[in-house]
């Protein structure tokens, strides 16, 4: 049975008690202990830096050419922290409460409370590292607001917050590389975990330049390998983002939790054609100042600026007056889909809604600037000019990006946006110490399932990644490794390493000998289409059953007909991709099974059979207040273990943002 190892005691004292009583490793012993970290995004880089600083011998791996490229870099809007610098009623409890509610009561109270407790430390740490957060004129840190909350607690650096935080973590990591505490292996992709006597003891990697398989030992292994949104083919993830490391760990015994919990982000640039390779997010922070609307008339073909105010339907403000444009992502996405499905969509494909800045540009920023400059009775043109300057400073890079992609100027015409796959709340099951169900194998950041329940609030991914890496794993890793100080490094000539490497080698050979007629990309696209249509924003029993069969058929087809050019012992991006898509073809089935099993709607998981008369998600707390943790029992066969969720402090209610 799964033991979440949540410490006893009062919620707000659990983490303090844990830190006060966990086992420690003395500095001399730390030097003898080796830790493998796969992935160098916010979670992986911060963990590598923090553990290196403590004196552990860290080996860090990434598939990109440099650890600074990890996809955390693309996060735009910000990072939450319960600092209450705005004096607007924020507190650790409030951030905890908002996160649990935002996750639709499907996350653990103890984990989320810990996250909220360390949130403030993250900001302090990042400032100390030199992260250039946005500031007020008085020199103090600035905040903006994000969806699902009524306070301003989001710290940011224009629309490039992820970049700035990752560079901070990357610099801390490189400092440890220079000091010899971390050894960095870039362009290395993990292929499998080596488990010896029930404990994770190493990994097999493929050197993506030479194609050689390599073996690495560690007293423990951390996976910080990000989410699996690319199972949908089109998503806001980077092209290389994949599930492979987590999936291989799953096949070695790690439970995969809540795989169906996927976040569809409401504000992305819509698909423009079949050639599309990825989708681009327009930060949630834009909903601070942008108003979302569609025409009141169906199939209205007028240009947006020609549609008068009274003929616009600001449907989020109409349906959810309390939160308006700042409802959580799942709610905003479904509302956009509802309008488009009902025939009110805009643009050539009619699969888009408007995100319009004109109102705030003029009335909020333009007027404030006019007042500041003492301009009496300014005309609209002046207000636009003044407001534009402020908007540019807040979101300039996002507006530029939109214009490059669409050829339209969002200062002049409203953006067209539509929901797209963005984040996966599900991931490897971990206990309170962030250890998976394989002893000695830990999982951090988006790759684990832990803190966001069925829906993640905006600006919380960066918070979780850095909380896990800087402030949680340094303690919990010590607690585990204290029991391993007597273990001598196992030579990689050990039979266990040889065997796993041989398995990896066999799989690569199998892939390369198929030599069929269809490209890897074509299989990935077909998988994505099945997932988006049947396991996307709305799901139902029949569709999910069909999807499972279709994915099985597609997988069979893949292993018969895929064509991979090039050789094994050389750089071969098509082979890298094929190996990742093969794993997505297995994961997709499990996601559909999980979605089929969860006969309720919660957060990002919307089962059409389970909704209120107003079309809101309807939870079933009696049947499903648990984490669904899937254990693989054979080739594409799983057993479902349930971890009950117990709410001791918060009383779950129907989420209401009205």
């Amino acid at each position: 049975m799964l033991d979440s190892k949540i410490p006893a005691g009062k919620l707000e004292e659990k983490w303090t008690d844990y830190k006060g009583h966990c086992k420690l490793v003395n500095p001399a012993n730390k030097r003898k202990l080796e830790v493998i970290i796969v992935g160098t995004g916010l979670a992986g880089a911060s963990a590598a830096a923090a553990l290196g600083e403590q004196g552990y011998q860290v080996k860090a791996f990434c598939f990109q050419d440099s650890p600074r490229r990890a996809h955390s870099i693309a996060a735009q809007g910000g990072i939450n922290a319960a600092k209450n610098y705005q004096n607007d009623g924020d507190s650790i409890f409030r951030l905890f409460y908002d996160t649990i509610k935002g996750g639709d009561y499907r996350s653990r109270e103890a984990n989320v409370h810990r996250l909220s407790e360390v949130s403030g430390n993250i900001i302090d740490q990042c400032v100390a590292q030199g992260v250039p957060f946005a500031r007020e004129y008085g020199g103090l840190l600035n905040n903006r607001s994000f969806g699902g909350v009524q306070v301003k607690r989001t710290f940011y650096a224009a629309g490039q917050t992820g970049q700035q935080l990752l560079i901070g973590a990357y610099q801390a990591l490189e400092r440890q590389v220079a000091l010899g505490n971390v050894k960095m292996y870039s362009r290395h992709e993990m292929q499998d975990i080596v488990v010896i006597d029930g404990k994770a003891r190493g990994i097999i990697t493929r050197n993506l330049i030479t194609g050689q398989l390599e073996r690495f030992f560690g007293h423990s292994v951390i996976l910080a390998t990000g989410g699996y949104g690319n199972v949908f083919y089109l998503s806001t993830n980077a092209m290389g983002s994949n599930v492979t490391a987590a999936w291989r760990a799953h096949k070695k015994g790690a439970h995969f939790a809540n795989p169906c919990f996927t976040q569809i982000h409401p504000t992305c640039i819509p698909v423009s054609g079949d050639h599309q390779s990825k989708l681009t997010l327009m930060s949630e922070s834009l909903r601070n100042d942008g108003r979302i609307w569609v025409p009141k008339k169906q199939n209205d073909t007028r240009k947006p600026n020609d549609i008068p105010e009274e003929e616009r339907d600001y449907y989020l403000e109409r349906r959810y007056p309390a939160f308006g444009n700042l409802v959580p992502r799942d709610v905003a996405s479904r509302a956009a889909k509802e309008r488009c499905d009902a025939g009110y969509g805009v643009g050539t494909t009619k699969q888009a809604v408007y995100l319009d800045f004109r109102y705030n540009l003029i009335n909020k920023y333009g007027r404030a600037e006019a007042n500041k400059h003492g301009i009496q009775n300014p005309d609209t043109e002046t207000l636009v000019r003044l407001g534009k300057e402020v908007v540019k400073e807040e979101y300039g890079n996002l507006f530029d990006m939109y214009e490059k992609i669409t050829g339209e100027n969002p200062y002049e015409v409203p953006m067209r946006i539509y929901p797209a796959v963005h984040y996966t709340m599900g991931g490897l099951w971990v206990d309170y110490e962030l250890m998976t169900s394989v002893t000695g194998l830990f999982c951090l950041g988006e790759a684990n399932f832990s803190d966001h329940g069925a829906n993640r609030l905006g600006a919380s991914a960066l918070m979780q990644g850095l909380a896990d890496g800087y402030f949680v794993i340094p303690y919990t890793m010590g607690n585990y490794l204290a029991g391993e100080i007597g273990v001598k490094p196992i030579p990689t000539s050990d039979r266990a390493f040889v065997e796993v490497e041989a398995q990896v080698n066999d799989r690569i050979n199998r892939l390369m000998t198929i030599q069929g007629t269809q490209t890897v990309e074509s299989f990935h696209k077909r998988l994505g289409k099945i997932m988006w249509e049947k396991c996307g924003m709305a799901r139902n029993e029949q569709g999910l059953k069909e999807a499972i069969q279709e994915i099985r058929d597609l997988r069979t087809d893949f292993w018969k007909n895929v064509r991979i050019p090039g050789g094994i012992h050389e750089m071969n991006p098509e082979l890298d991709k094929a190996s990742r898509v093969a794993d997505f073809l297995e994961l997709g089935e499990l996601m559909c099974m999980d979605a089929l099993d969860r006969k309720e709607s919660c957060g990002g998981h919307f089962r059409e059979e389970s909704q209120t008369s107003e079309g809101e998600a309807l939870r079933n707390d009696e049947g499903f207040m648990h984490v669904s943790a899937w254990k693989q029992t054979g080739e594409n066969a799983w057993q479902l273990d349930k971890e009950p969720l117990e709410y001791e402090v918060i009383k779950p209610t129907q989420r209401n943002y009205k």
Binding site: K83, N121, V127, A134, L140, Q164, R175, I405, T519
Partner: protein
């Protein structure tokens, strides 16, 4: 926006690995939509090559939204192609016309050896950061973030320098293959903040020494780096670096290690 399709000729650098010499190959692609990104056009080419049983063109890319710094194509004689302030992945095909021939090469610099086709090794940039591109603060030591007020103007300037994505276009554009724009952006990012002040002298000296060791050339102030930088990092950062470097060199107490 007006949409159109185009047929193009691509002349692309092909090189098996660092040990072999490379050459240009010509390819034809047809029905390329003006709405595609430049890399999506390369996806079309590679799909075509795989179906024909040929080897696709290897190129670096990841986020495809202009922030990870991985993409790195030298297009028609200019890093990242014709658009100002734009990475290769954000360049869109409406920059081209039907019938165009497009020449695509990797970054060319001694410090960036070719790995395969359009992919180069930019590990030298990581090593320059290792030489001092950080603030030496361990996790857990920090004081409250608001205990260090920073004038907004300084914070904004620091941020503008920190926006560098480490793509290496500055090196590729420079006739001397100098990495000074990259290096000066990092020195400026940290030197403009009070947190970075303690180590500013040693940082400038150590990072410049590492740059020289990596085989990058010297800066002769032609400004090609600034002109092609996809993040529009300003050349004034180089002036700031020079001041930092000079004052560090003059200070005797900074030679301690």
């Amino acid at each position: 926006m007006e949409h159109y399709n185009m047929n193009l000729t691509l002349k692309v650098w092909k090189q098996k690995n660092a040990d072999t010499s490379g050459k240009f190959e010509s390819y034809k692609v047809s029905n390329i939509s003006s709405e595609m990104s430049f890399l999506e056009m390369f996806d079309v080419l590679n799909e075509q090559l795989v179906r024909e049983g040929k080897e696709p063109v290897a190129f670096d890319h990841d986020c495809r939204e202009g922030i990870c710094g991985m993409c790195s194509m030298y297009i028609n004689g200019r890093p990242h192609g014709p658009w100002q302030g734009t990475t290769t992945c954000q360049l869109h095909m409406r920059a081209f016309r039907d019938g165009d021939t497009i020449v695509v090469e990797p970054w060319r610099a001694k410090a960036f050896p070719v790995v395969k086709d359009l992919i180069v090794d930019r590990g030298a940039f990581d090593r320059i950061i290792q030489a001092g591109g950080y603030i030496s603060v361990n996790t857990g030591n920090a004081q409250d973030g608001n205990n260090i007020p920073i004038p907004k103007d300084d914070a904004d300037k620091s941020f503008a320098a920190a926006a560098c994505i480490g793509c290496g276009a500055c090196v590729a554009a420079c006739k001397n293959s100098s990495a000074l724009l990259f290096l000066s952006a990092k020195v400026s990012h940290l030197a403009l903040l009070p947190q970075g002040d303690t180590e500013r002298k040693q940082r400038a000296l150590d990072m410049v020494a590492q740059m020289d060791k990596e085989g990058f050339g010297s800066c002769t102030n032609t400004g090609a780096c600034e002109a092609v930088c996809p993040k529009e990092i300003e050349i004034t950062n180089i002036a700031r670096l020079n001041r930092e470097y000079l004052s560090a060199g003059l200070a005797t107490d900074s030679k301690s290690h």
